[in-house]
Symmetry: C2
Subunit: 540 residues, 2 copies
């Protein structure tokens, strides 16, 4: 069989050898970064972003091996096939077409002989029309009041992307409508949202592909109860984002509008589909949302077309696999020096860990070491005052620094110590990447910095909708390229199924007890039994 994973290639041995070599003193980052033209040789501009990987533990040979691997595995061709509708989600026999949701091209894309591009366009138009009618007051709540709150009811992929983008672009928001997220089935989440809204002026956006997600159904039912309690008509306060023909698309149970989801767009890749379009167009306005799509499209085209050595998400993916499989790092921090990007890390945590955290490859072969890496992060400079002590002197992990050149709030120019706040922020970001790489010797070992701690830096001109779209697409494409290199299916998630089955069993036992207070819990699992009893008892 033709190799389909990086570690099946002949050059795998050379990469392993290279990794051992990288542990030699002469290969310490403090030496690597001082080579002439290090930055220009280890950075690239493309798709509207700038990526500096000069502080990654790489030399020319390593880069060449990784680029060769990308060529031999046809990674760019695979990305193109994905974008053109190939059924690359093999375990579910589906195409993977999140890129189509933001394509403004007129080229058809066929799935099972059907051109899906008109469907994509129809969804965009339907959302646009609906949002414009909400914004101009044509569509109102059942008591005739304009909508002032939008509650997004959805979990995982039906939540994290919209939260990330709405936080990043809050400065562009239509101030008339506040947005709230109801993801967790924890009644605390519902209670807090219920306290913050006015039901008469609230639009509920229920997002679930199957419309049977347990958490979303439970929250939707609470919302309906609340509306009924207040004498409101739920059908005049709900829109659904779901699959055609799901229980959320039932003419017998009418709602204000239904926007369709398609099985070729996975939840974690869905923020540019109706899943993000509905809440974000309501909150930000459709024009801002389309600018965001256009940025994502630009990076998609870069990912599909740029040669490997100049392809930002591909380079980032190769480095990630190198760091994980060869250098042995187990996690990757994402540190945007930008408060508005505070929800980037939680979104990418889902996108990347759910896509690539796999034990078997796409052919169903167990991997010797599972693929994927743990992603976590908080904004800088905050993180410096939180967990960066460990980043400098504890176990090392690669970091993605993200900088934004021009601040959104340009009116605050007063200086402390001769610099603006924005400059202070940048001084810190530049400094961190530098000293993590270089380190510092010291006789006093509590003040010794080993250095050699890798990072990349990604730079955006500003936090425009287009740049946020580019950033999203960069991380999506990086995740996809990593999955291709690891040889896993980045689009299924069978690992979440077992817990759902076990929860259903426990739910049944709770429901029985709710019906019959004398019901005894099954003793087959004594630990679960104790927790069921403790929950119904209500004390530890």
């Amino acid at each position: 069989m033709k190799p389909y994973r990086l570690n099946q290639l002949e050059l795998n041995t050379a990469l392993q050898k290279k990794a051992r070599e990288m542990n030699q003193d002469k290969m310490h980052l403090k030496h690597l970064v001082s080579a002439p033209n290090r930055l220009s040789n280890y950075s690239a501009k493309g798709g509207g972003l700038f990526l500096d990987y000069s502080r990654q533990r790489l030399d020319d040979q390593t880069m060449q091996l990784l680029i060769d691997a990308a060529d031999k595995l046809n990674l760019t061709a695979k990305f193109q096939q994905m974008s053109q509708g190939a059924l690359i989600n093999k375990t579910e026999n589906r195409a993977v077409l999140h890129t189509a949701t933001r394509s403004f091209s007129s080229t058809p894309i066929y799935v099972d002989g059907h051109d899906i591009m008109p469907d994509m366009q129809n969804v965009r138009n339907a959302v646009k029309t609906f949002c414009n009618r909400v914004h101009n007051g044509e569509i109102k709540g059942c008591t005739g009041k304009a909508f002032r709150h939008a509650v997004v009811v959805g979990i995982g992929g039906s939540y994290l992307g919209a939260e990330f983008i709405s936080t990043a672009l809050a400065a562009y928001a239509n101030k008339a409508i506040r947005i709230h997220y109801l993801a967790n089935v924890d009644i605390h989440n519902f209670g807090a949202v219920a306290d913050a809204i006015d039901p008469e002026t609230t639009l509920w956006i229920i997002i679930s592909k199957s419309y049977t997600t347990a958490e979303t159904t439970a929250n939707k039912n609470q919302a309906i109860e609340l509306m009924k309690d207040k004498g409101l008509e739920p059908s005049k306060h709900i829109v659904t984002v779901t699959s055609k023909g799901s229980p959320g698309d039932d003419p017998g149970d009418p709602v204000l509008a239904t926007f369709y989801m398609y099985d070729f767009i996975g939840g974690r890749y869905s923020v540019t589909s109706a899943v993000g379009a509905a809440p974000l167009s309501i909150y930000l306005g459709n024009e801002t949302f389309e600018r965001f799509l256009k940025g994502a499209e630009q990076m998609d085209l870069h990912a599909a077309q740029a040669p490997a050595h100049a392809n930002l998400p591909l380079i980032a993916a190769l480095i990630s696999v190198w760091n994980t499989d060869y250098l042995g790092y187990r996690h990757n921090a994402i540190i945007p020096y930008c408060s508005a990007l505070q929800k980037l890390a939680p979104h990418i945590q889902q996108l990347n860990m759910e896509s690539n955290g796999k034990g078997a490859d796409i052919q169903g072969q167990m991997l010797d070491t599972p693929a994927g890496t743990v992603i976590f992060g908080e904004p800088g400079a905050n993180a410096q005052h939180s967990f960066f002590q460990l980043a400098h002197q504890g176990q090392a992990f690669p970091i993605d620094f993200i900088g934004v050149l021009n601040p959104q709030y340009t009116q605050y120019q007063s200086c402390s110590k001769g610099v603006t706040n924005h400059q202070e922020l940048w001084a810190n970001m530049i400094a961190q990447a530098k000293v993590l790489a270089i380190g510092k010797d010291s006789e006093d070992k509590t003040r010794y910095f080993s250095g050699n701690r890798p990072s990349s830096t990604l730079v955006l001109d500003d936090l425009s909708p287009e740049n946020v779209g580019r950033l999203l697409s960069f991380y999506e494409a990086r995740t996809v390229f990593e999955g291709f290199a690891w040889g896993v299916n980045s689009f299924d998630q069978f690992g979440v199924e077992l817990g759902k089955i076990a929860a259903a069993d426990l739910r049944r036992q709770m429901a029985d007890k709710n019906q019959d207070p004398d019901h005894y819990f099954e003793a087959s699992d004594p630990i679960a039994k104790m927790y069921l009893e403790m929950l119904f008892e209500g004390k530890i």
Copy 2:
């Protein structure tokens, strides 16, 4: 020299042997958890909380070895010495007395011959008096309007704890006053806060021990500019929380009130000191804040007094060290099945990683492997729909599940599939811990679950202020015990210093350029030079 680290003890060899044994099939968690009385033997109640560690990869011998290690290292005695004022922060020659901030005991605690308990009481009284006067309208802004917004200006330890507690206890908040956090020097953070407040009714709480923290100073200066722009008198809108005699405690620069910080309370342990007392008493009311303190005090006493085998934070610490040093796990997730605890993980991330992420031990000896572990987490059930795919089928990591038996919003009792939302939440939590441990075989390897993935479960009766105090103290004590076992100083943070020095150098270059647009940046570090140029150019 007497052993002062777990891995210096003779029983270290036995633990290493045990760890190898745990990799045998017969020691898989699916077998361990089915032993009779597994739960009762591997759980404990104390300090008001319940800890279940039955799904940790431990057997009786391992537990005995760990308890023996705790005895030989005198961990409980060390905790008592800490609470009584011993100078255990050796590198800085300081006592460590966060426990004193919530002690309601009349026993004196001497530091350098001075009883510090009256100081603790004075701070509590001063905050209480001030907050009551704000709440009853005696203290108002300079235009005579009552305060409606409190902005907490502080970073790291002067921010994360208050954010965690104010989010956890938001249901108790005084609805008249909204709280905002201004931590990041990113002007976006300031801009967003400035947009959300009304300066006339805003109280700024500036928190910095030295009152020279670069980020906090820059933000404070922006706040003062804003007030001056609006014609307001800053001295009537500011309180400071700082060290006696710092620039924030300057009679020449008066403010509404100053509450003192002490050098024997580290930032990350300071939320029960004035650092948390000021914002939380304003936001939650002083009565709620004191209930929170009393819960913390109860767990402190448990940590200091309970025998090792029944001491919750000590057991949790021993398991953490076992998982990290012997079983080789590199991170620990914190998954509260409780939306209100959404800021627990970011707080513990700082508390634990900054405390124990160390390369050298307390005697200045380099460690073979750095101490500490990466902490991350999001609330469940959300996390199940985010990164739990990797938790089930990717690389394994230990998880702390946290459950709350009684929900805060008891009015929402309607059922979906026969259960309330709160029960659905619990069904999921119980299910996750179970299937992670047990796994499931499958011919189809994409649906194969290896299991043997460890977790603990911590249970709270409800989300009362007392229980949130107990939870905080549990994690603080666990962190301290871990540090004792690793033999590191959990109270210094020299690892953050190098970055500050490098940032100061870059700041100077930026300030020079601000003064003189023709200024050329130093070429000694070409990478930093490029970023300086890019920032001033304003485009990639």
